[in-house]
Subunit: 152 residues, 4 copies
């Protein structure tokens, strides 16, 4: 696949240390594979995934709910203040070729559902049990699954 | 509560006869209580709920995913072609004081999740098992719950 | 034309007594012709057009920029809090078969431009001079033009 | 100003050779100044501005109207398929600290109006005469004005 792949990493703004570590590993692995990492641009899982990606000099896109670009965490390279509130969850999913979902939270669930509705593959790490999500238990397994999806 | 309440009835565009019957009962009961019934404006559960509401001379609002108003089912009194695709699911939920969810489908799940994220009460009838949804088994129970919520 | 026509009346939230009078006349005339009157749901021209429509028992739809339905003026029958800020201007225009624009204001100009971009006819009453707008000087002339457009 | 500035270059998808040359110069100058160049991601002025920016190794963001990322021109580094049609014009403007508008077109006019509504400075190069736009006649003058705005 020659065009640059985009993968969204979605998860709550408040997350456990384990979830943050996992998100950072996923972000780093995606960036190392040349993927643009898309998030909601705020804290928690979004920040950890973006930080991981930047640690590998990867590109990060943050689609913010509010209209203030400065609300983006410091690891978001390109920040888009959508001013659309939770409707931006649909933009996050639409912007991505595949989604990695971590942790709980209703926003995360909405992104999983919208991704499946749009036919985007979703890889889950300790997240909602929804039919259609490929659940794995380590960042490495998530990255392997994503890699397999993106070469198709 | 003096202002007019709005309740969204969400569910798949393709539904079983039982689900359609339930949706129609819910729509009729909401309209009888003076509620504006909000749906995604298309077929299946959306159409049945709107038809039920109109059978009681209720008001119906349909927020369509496409940009063609004529895609609305015939029971939608006020149709808004949003042209936003599945992002309109968030508009449906935002427009409502409470949500009744019927049946499966990823679109329905996204609306449940967005509603809970926004703090809207969600009453479920044979739908996704998500923490925070009040599950009931009959239209009457759903209507009683909604009535209780709206007087608060 | 058998389907119900929708016409947007767009104009600033702060308007002169003359503009308000004109907007009210336009709203009344549209309602008398069976048109659903669409506005941005707030004050000024939006409120006057909605009030005019309601004076003829017409139907009024307000698409609000914020996420609070109670921000709608009292003449809006069906209020949709989009939570999208000025992006809702595009929804107002998309929801309408034709647009009547009154007065100045940048929001009004954006609605004129989006309407023309989408191929919606725009009738202007003391508004921006933009190629493609049919300018008239009385509510009666505006209503006659709209009537001609809607029977096509 | 320490944070990275974003400037939108807006203009029609079909443009004259002069307009394309001007857009490319503007894009190049913005990129040389460390600005992220935001466009609607398609052809004409959008493509020329993005190409100019990439010629200086600048960063380019394209916010597309459709839901297919591959519709972006080849100079868009980060492409976001919004699937919102012309409503994305509001996102382009919201994402930017300032706007440079080139040429005619109703889409361009809507972006000028939305930018002024949101209080974003707009520099015009052979575009619509709208009160509030700072009109200049060369890319150099546009870049000088933008530079002045961004240091404030």
């Amino acid at each position: 696949m020659s065009r640059t792949p985009y993968v969204a990493v979605v998860g709550p703004g408040e997350a456990s240390p384990d979830e943050l570590h996992t998100a950072e590993e996923v972000g780093a692995g995606l960036a190392a594979a040349g993927v643009v990492v898309v998030t909601g641009g705020l804290g928690g899982v979004m920040e950890a995934a973006s930080r991981g990606a930047r640690s590998r000099r990867g590109r990060t896109l943050g689609l913010l709910p509010g209209d203030d670009r400065d609300a983006a965490n410091g690891w978001v390279e390109i920040a888009v203040p959508t001013g659309m509130g939770e409707l931006r969850n649909g933009l996050v999913v639409r912007a991505a070729d595949a989604v990695v979902a971590l942790g709980g939270g209703y926003g995360t669930l909405s992104e999983i559902a919208l991704a499946l509705k749009l036919g985007r593959p979703v890889v889950g790490l300790g997240t909602w049990e929804v039919h259609g999500v490929d659940h794995v238990s380590t960042p490495e397994d998530a990255l392997a699954l994503i890699a397999g999806l993106l070469v198709q």
